[in-house]
């Protein structure tokens, strides 16, 4: 058992991190919000120079790990760019959108004029008929409306890849939010001592840390599973399970990061406000926590989850038995 990414992936993650930090880090996203349409030109070339789009994540595990490490590094700067969506692009398109199956059809980064394909959480593929511009809202600057056509097949592995890489991006956001929060409570003094000296603050920090660490380990496992050909029956369930954990961890980490930053955390001059706002499209689309849970149940309902004592018994759970 090895729970470390390859050296190549680690090196690429560091290169992405360094490049984005040198270009302004979270300030890149601050600038992008002023003119969302311009971010393709602002950020795209930085990633192009690193050779990211030569990576084929589904070709082999080394490339898959490299893509994940790049997404995590981008998340550390809450980068407002469709890095996961571009890595998951199916043949013949520039990017893949994950669109809701009901309700308002909005997707992260759909406001950018790429040649898009679209899938739902189930892997169902739909042609993209048109996309709109940025929503220009506090939470939706980097999301846009999508019009899709009739279902035209399934893209299960690409869907699992997109979900997984989005969660690697989110993991980067949460790890950075946790690190910034730790720094803040070690510096901020109240009642004559730093916040970090208060036991209630320490316990809040530990809960935040355990949530982020759990997500990190599950993200690594899910990535490995996606690279295993014989795991095909569980690719999508594993990715959905990771999404479920990612959304839970995001709530656990960001709630605590906000609480410990106090009012300062709402101010756009602190990064935590950006981690919180800019992560919203990925956390709410194409489905929030409850709907993601329902999707996991549906997916497990066809016996697609492994643990120490599975495969789960199918004999007493006929296809669709869990559908309500």
């Amino acid at each position: 058992m090895k729970n470390q990414l390859s050296d190549e992936a680690v090196a690429l993650g560091e290169a992405v991190d360094d490049t984005l930090a040198a270009a302004g880090g979270v300030d890149l996203t601050r600038r992008a919000e002023a003119d969302p349409a311009a971010r393709a030109a602002l950020i795209g070339p930085l990633l192009e120079e690193l050779g990211l789009w030569e990576i084929e994540p589904l070709a082999d595990q080394v490339q898959l790990e490299a893509a994940a490490a790049a997404c995590r590094a981008a998340g550390r700067h809450v980068l407002a760019y469709p890095i996961a969506e571009r890595f998951a692009a199916p043949e013949g398109s520039e990017g893949l959108l994950l669109v809701p199956s009901t309700g308002r059809r909005v997707a992260p980064h759909a406001d950018l004029g790429l040649s898009w394909s679209a899938v739902e959480l189930t892997g169902l593929q739909r042609p993209v008929l048109s996309t709109g511009g940025s929503l220009h809202t506090k939470l939706g600057s980097f999301a846009g409306e999508v019009q899709v056509g009739e279902a035209c097949g399934t893209l299960e592995r690409e869907t699992a890849l997109l979900i997984t890489l989005q969660m690697w991006w989110l993991l980067g956001v949460l790890e950075r939010a946790g690190a910034d929060t730790l720094t803040y409570v070690k510096e901020r003094e109240q009642f004559g001592r730093t916040l970090a000296k208060f036991q209630s603050v320490q316990f809040t920090l530990t809960d935040l840390t355990v949530a982020a660490q759990s997500l990190a380990e599950l993200a690594k496992y899910t990535l490995w599973s996606l690279a295993q050909d014989d795991h095909e029956p569980v690719w999508l369930t594993d990715a959905l399970s990771l999404r479920l954990s990612g959304l839970e961890a995001a709530d656990a980490v960001m709630r605590r990061a906000h609480q410990l930053h106090g009012a300062m955390g709402f101010a756009d001059e602190t990064n935590v406000s950006w981690y919180s706002r800019i992560s919203q499209p990925v956390r709410r689309l194409p489905a929030g926590l409850s709907q993601t849970e329902a999707a996991v149940v549906e997916s497990m309902g066809t016996d697609r989850f492994t643990n120490l004592f599975t495969p789960l018994p199918s004999a007493v759970r006929p296809e669709g038995a869990l559908a309500h």
Partner: protein, 384 residues
């Protein structure tokens, strides 16, 4: 590069252990410490069977009577045994941490006398740590060891001591320094429990028989040869003990097993459960996977000699909370059967009831949730 595939030898071991459990442990078995004395006999017999096949101290070094297996085989052993309601009874304590601590701190005489009986599954140990006035604040312990010619006399009281009624030996912490010496005045004694000066009083509890006891020491004798490590040097040993204990029980394994079993156990009734309960069940399965991966992170680090006690604390926080989450989900799934039944055919429901009762202690036993949080916080923010 990431690799979560289980090695062939680990898979072989799993299958072998499952076959042995299938052959020797009744399906209705819920642990050694029930009201039925047969359960204890089953555990003692199974321990000897494992011992005969060199599977009992599987992962101990061969020089100490073990099988020299890898830490991943050790992990699989823990998982399989805990999932099967620990058919080794209380023996896991000797195997998981008393033995390893004796290997590290014991002298040759102590190792020769104590390790072979543990490896053979012949002897039970208990742990004399907590006292009425020293729970989480263990350095406040007052049980005193008084020097006499050739050894020490022990006076004091321990409490919450698991398996003390049946234990032959006790791994005891006692004060050898001044009352104010706290961590600097504690020594470890290996105490023979078969003495008139030791009285064990069981504490009736929701956990079941033998689980918790009071132990009174009224001048019990410990010869010099049974002092472990140096005088007043017990605290370092205790820290090691607690590190072993944090990863000693694979609670997620039983969670995995019971959650996976639930749909099959309920049969057609499974589809009638509300969607919300299906979602809690699915979430619990995912959480159990995450916790197992946190455990593997600790094992991998330990394997490379890079174990960070804070990582072990993070794992333990997650696994104890998982135990209780799973207990609640399962109790909702079985409904009124969760209150217990004499019907021994209701194996799943009885296992859920047992799991719920036992899970209540998860966040208290072997260091409370709060102490684990402090251990992790100390690493995050630096020692206070």
């Amino acid at each position: 590069m990431l690799d979560y595939a289980e090695a062939d030898e680990v898979q072989v071991l799993r299958h072998r252990l499952r076959a042995l459990v299938e052959e020797h442990i009744p399906k209705s078995y819920l642990g050694a410490f029930t009201d039925n004395p047969n359960d204890l006999e089953i555990a003692q017999r199974f321990s000897r069977i494992l011992g005969e096949q060199r599977l009992f101290a599987l992962t101990w070094p061969e020089s100490f009577g073990g099988g020299g297996a890898s830490s991943w085989e050790q992990t699989a052993l823990r998982e399989e045994m805990w999932a099967a309601h620990e058919p080794r009874g209380a023996q896991y304590m000797g195997l998981n941490w008393i033995g390893p601590v004796l290997m590290r701190y014991g002298n040759e005489d102590q190792q020769q006398r104590h390790l072979p009986p543990i490896a053979a599954g012949d002897v039970l140990w208990c742990q004399g740590f907590s006292e009425p006035e020293a729970g989480s604040d263990l350095p406040a312990l007052r049980t005193k060891a008084v020097r006499e010619e050739g050894g020490w006399r022990i006076h004091g009281q321990k409490v919450w001591t698991s398996y003390a009624e049946m234990a032959r030996w006790c791994f005891l912490l006692a004060r050898t320094g001044t009352p104010e010496s706290r961590k600097d005045g504690i020594t470890v004694f290996l105490v023979d429990m078969e003495q008139a000066e030791i009285e064990v009083r069981p504490i009736p509890s929701m956990l079941g028989r033998h689980h918790i006891n009071e132990v009174y020491f009224t001048g019990a004798w410990v010869p010099d040869r049974d002092v472990l490590g140096g005088i007043n040097e017990g605290w370092k040993i205790v820290n090691d003990v607690l590190a072993f204990e944090r990863i000693g029980i694979a609670r997620y394994a039983r969670c995995d097993k019971l959650l996976s079993w639930a749909p099959r156990a309920l049969g057609e009734a499974w589809a009638d459960l509300p969607q919300g309960l299906h979602q809690r069940w699915a979430k619990a399965l995912v959480h159990s996977r995450s916790v197992r991966l946190l455990a593997y992170k600790v094992v991998a680090a330990q394997d490379q000699g890079l174990l960070d006690p804070a990582d072990a604390a993070a794992y333990r926080i997650a696994v104890t909370l998982l135990d209780q989450e799973v207990a609640e989900v399962l109790m909702d799934i079985v409904g009124g059967w969760g209150l217990g039944t004499e019907d021994t055919e209701r194996i799943f429901e009885r296992a859920v009831e047992d799991h719920w009762r036992y899970a209540q202690a998860s966040t208290v036993a072997s260091g409370t949730l709060e102490m684990q949080r402090l251990a992790l916080a100390n690493r995050l923010v630096g020692k206070r």
